[in-house]
């Protein structure tokens, strides 16, 4: 489908741009908001999972008898049981590589092997504890770089899903852990390096982290009478329906997926998580089945990719970056999930928001024997930004150029080609950087201290492309009494989509946003939406909603004409319906659908005329205070600035930016899934520390710059990830500024700083 040209009307002073509270605010403060967590169905069974305790091995024997003997146990199931209802029990958005339960082999410690169903969760749990398994252990691969060339293979053969044509060439590939190798070539990097005045090369690492939504993963399946209803905490109900229908070999209309509010998602609750498992179990048991993970179990579901990044730049005499090469290894864990897409999308922007003529880039999705990795608020952009913005800072320091000046000198501006060849448009990179500098008082010298406490400051800026091409469809139903329902598949997981979408509809329909009812995703009722992910909803669904409202307006006008009502009479549509149907009856239904233009990147060069619907841009600045005797440090000031286009609801937007930045602060300073011999050693809130109120920087500023996405709904674009991008390097750069020591690996902990101080000696030359 070609790209639609959308004319954005002048913005009337109205619904868009108002900071109204969330539509569901009262339900949330009274504890009455609906989550799958709360739900139960008559006759429902509870499932508890028995998990592998080894990271890699063949299942020699599985003993389910003791569990089956427990009073109150309804069913104990392993993969052979699943096969009776789903003949090919493998799923995944990019590769059909993940079995619903371990199939002869386990590929990570924590992988589901069997499930117990019982009327009560505690009985299922007790019985699951009685299951035992014998394994023939296989050597494991855990590190993404090692796994790239290892002779231990996580999968015998690659199994790309047919839905991703660009993965077709990987079908049946054997003896590799590389699920996808994305490459980009622009200009002639070799020649440019040879001609460069300076060449710098650095290696960086980022750690695995977990989303830890406070509502842990939960799904309920209710299979009866040849159809299936899933109530699931999912960010993409349409995908769930399509994938479950594929697994069952059923038409989509026999699978219904309903999603109420989510208690957080952050990219974790995407694609298939527990849905295939509860579906199979409900079909076997012929009763509704619910599985709710515990917080600890969430760490075995999905995580953010750890990454190793090598980055090299050539710089000319004047300080212009002339060449950059990057190699990125993504630790994908045991199953691909959406990792190949992370690998590709983050690959587009891995060279940073700079105007560089010669770029060479390789990005590898690598299987390892760890928890599968997927999307987490940024689709890989925060990992690559950690590398390129630390690298950029190190180059500036080495060349003796101010960090801000060096960035400005090299910045990518609208109208110039980005590394993929796509011409940058509506990306306020310069404005964001300027605003960060201003809020950091960059021009005013900082008192760095000479005693035990040292201070420093740093800045960083990054950007990301948006997953494409993806579709959203919206429906507006005007009821005969004058009220309005908005039917969308966007999942409100806290970002405030219900409210923003209602504002967009209200703006066009000339209604109060608060009066609109947003009907939550129900695939029997709400139309298709690709998913609530990757900052796409405001732009994609927002456009679909706007078009649906315009369509409704056109139908109102047509009805008026049909009834012989003069065009300017301003009769409300309820009155028109009353005249047509002679009573309070009938509906006016508006439909809108949207898919942005996209040009598939060339397989060899990664070049594309249109690689993303819009650019997400985020910049950060940080000040830190470090105790050089202990390494203890505090982020005393954190500034985050994003380009979000025009704001639909400024207050919700500011909160979203702030929340994303604090989340990334956790990923920067404390969160780290620690593995020893393939075993996760800290998978609970007792040992895995997420930010709390005391971690808030004393000065904490979150802003967006004045900007406008020309084809966004009322000038808006997405914002859910922008302030995750640059937080880590801003803090790392501030630490280097304070103590002259560089940390190359995340997270930035007191221990790491202390170790680096000891290794380097205070005031030692850091920038190598």
């Amino acid at each position: 489908m070609a790209s639609q040209t959308l004319t954005t009307p002048a913005m009337p002073a109205g619904q868009v741009g108002r900071s109204i509270p969330r539509l569901e605010a009262a339900a949330k403060v009274t504890g009455r908001a609906e989550y799958v967590h709360n739900m139960s169905l008559p006759g429902m069974l509870h499932g508890k999972i028995f998990r592998s305790v080894i990271p890699h091995g063949k299942i020699k024997h599985l003993d389910l008898d003791a569990a089956r003997a427990v009073e109150g146990v309804f069913l104990v199931a392993a993969i052979d049981d699943i096969r009776k209802v789903i003949a090919h029990p493998y799923y995944g958005p990019a590769f059909h590589d993940q079995p619903i339960l371990a199939d002869g082999k386990v590929r990570y410690a924590g992988e589901p092997v069997a499930v117990v169903l019982a009327d009560e969760a505690h009985i299922a749990e007790e019985a699951a504890g009685l299951i035992s398994a014998e394994y023939e252990e296989l050597p494991g691969v855990y590190d993404e770089v090692e796994a790239h060339g290892a002779q231990v293979f996580v999968h015998d053969e690659l199994k790309p899903a047919a839905t991703f044509p660009d993965l077709a060439h990987l079908l049946g590939r054997r003896d590799t852990n590389v699920a996808l190798d994305f490459q980009l070539r622009r200009g002639d990097a070799d020649a440019a390096f040879a001609a460069a005045e300076h060449v710098f090369e650095h290696h960086f690492r980022t750690q695995p982290t977990m989303h830890t939504p406070l509502e842990p993963f939960v799904s309920i399946a209710d299979a009866s009478g040849g159809s299936l209803t899933l109530h699931t905490a999912s960010q993409n109900p349409s995908f769930v329906r399509i994938e479950i229908a594929r697994l069952l070999g059923w038409p989509e209309n026999r699978v219904r997926v309903k999603v109420p509010y989510l208690g957080g998602g952050f990219g974790g609750k995407l694609y298939i998580k527990l849905e295939a498992l509860v579906t199979a179990l409900s079909l076997i048991a012929r009763r509704p089945v619910k599985i709710s993970l515990t917080m600890q179990e969430q760490f075995f579901m999905v995580m953010r990719h750890a990454a190793t990044i090598r980055i090299k730049s050539g710089v000319d005499k004047s300080g212009r970056i002339t060449a950059r090469s990057c190699e990125v290894w993504w630790n994908g864990g045991a199953y691909a999930d959406i990792g190949p897409r992370v690998t590709q999308k983050a690959g587009f922007t891995a060279a940073g928001p700079y105007d560089i003529d010669n770029v060479e880039l390789n990005s590898y999705a690598v299987y390892t024997n760890r928890t599968p990795a997927g999307a987490l608020r940024g689709f890989g952009a925060p990992q690559t930004c950690w590398a390129y913005e630390t690298h950029t800072d190190m180059i500036a320091a080495k060349l003796g150029i101010d960090q801000l000046a060096f960035r400005r000198m090299n910045l990518l501006h609208d109208g110039r080609p980005q590394a993929t060849g796509t011409i940058l448009r509506d990306a306020a990179i310069d404005k964001v950087l300027d605003r960060v500098a201003e809020r950091m008082n960059w021009g005013t010298p900082l008192e760095r201290g000479t005693g035990r406490i040292r201070r420093g400051r740093g800045i960083a800026i990054g950007f990301k492309g948006i997953t494409a091409p993806t579709t959203s469809v919206a429906m507006i139903n005007l009821y005969a009494d004058g009220s309005c329902g908005l039917y969308i598949g966007t999942v409100d997981m806290g970002q405030g989509s219900d409210t923003c979408m209602a504002q967009i509809a209200a703006e066009v329909l000339n209604l109060d946003a608060e009066s609109i009812k947003v009907i939550h995703p129900d695939t029997d009722v709400t139309p298709y939406d690709m998913g609530t992910l990757g900052s796409r909803s405001t732009f994609h669904m927002g456009t679909a909603v706007r078009l649906a409202a315009l369509d409704a307006n056109q139908k109102i006008a047509a009805l008026a004409e049909e009834l012989g009502v003069p065009p300017n009479s301003n009769l409300p549509f309820s009155e028109l319906l009353r005249r047509k149907y002679r009573m309070q009856a009938g509906n006016i239904i508006g439909i809108g659908s949207f898919i942005p233009g996209y040009d598939k990147p060339d397989q060899e060069t990664g070049q594309s005329a249109n690689v993303t619907p819009f650019w997400g841009v985020g910049g950060s600045g940080a000040e830190v205070e470090i105790d050089i005797e202990t390494g203890e440090f505090k982020v005393t000031k954190l500034v985050n600035v994003a380009d979000v286009g025009a704001a639909i609801n400024p207050k919700l937007l500011a909160a979203q930016l702030s929340g994303a930045a604090i989340m990334q602060l956790g990923f920067t300073t404390s969160e780290n899934m620690l593995y020893r011999d393939g075993q996760l050693t800290n998978g609970s809130f007792a040992d895995y520390k997420i930010p709390c109120l005391l971690d808030m920087p004393a000065v904490f500023i979150n802003e967006f710059v004045e900007s406008r996405q020309h084809d966004g709904p009322f000038g808006a674009k997405g914002a859910g990830e922008s302030t995750t991008i640059a937080v880590s390097p801003a803090i790392g750069n501030a630490i280097a500024d304070a103590i002259g020591v560089r940390l190359m690996d995340l997270p930035l902990t007191a221990e790491a700083i202390h170790g680096a101080i000891l290794a380097a000696g205070i005031g030692g030359d850091d920038e190598h």
């Binding site: 509270p21 969330r22 569901e24 605010a25 009262a26 339900a27 949330k28 403060v29 009274t30 504890g31 009455r32 908001a33 989550y35 967590h37 709360n38 505690h122 989303h211 830890t212 939504p213 406070l214 509502e215 842990p216 509010y261 989510l262 208690g263 957080g264 998602g265 952050f266 515990t294 917080m295 600890q296 997981m493 806290g494 970002q495 405030g496 207050k651 919700l652 909160a655 979203q656 702030s658 929340g659 994303a660 930045a661 604090i662 989340m663 609970s684 809130f685 007792a686 997420i690 930010p691 709390c692 109120l693 005391l694 808030m696 904490f700």
Partner: protein
Amino acid sequence: MSTERTVRFSLNGRAVKAHVASHESLVQVLRDRFDLFGSRESCGQGLCGCCTVIVDGKPVSGCLYLASFLDGTSVQTIEGLAPADDRLDPVQEAFIEAGAFQCGFCTPGFILMTKHLLAENRAPSDDDIRHYLTGNLCRCSAYPEIVAAVKLAATKQRGG
């Protein structure tokens, strides 16, 4: 193994009784016997505050509090806070006005803790608030708005 007993307690001002097993937690009993979903289990380890319930005037982690101990207590949950269906408690109002939540999963816990904080300290400073509420986690990280909401609630309560 599990033994059962009957506990009689006051729930949001009403006398109730429940038959509970020894393994059952307060949050499970509220959910399974009384359809009260506002306190919810998240970490299950007493570390996040999502399951906060007020028992005899004190906030407890409902995930760790055994239901067998409920006998003779007075229990308050988020559902009992609003004075009427169409009227909210000032703390609830303040959380809405300050936009102090995103997904809302942690919100009942924060509101109940705030209620308790304001009963002890009518005008808490930012620092008081941060320390008092530090045992409540919000993964959406609505922390700045939560601090603002608590201050707003304090003002509302002092004013009215």
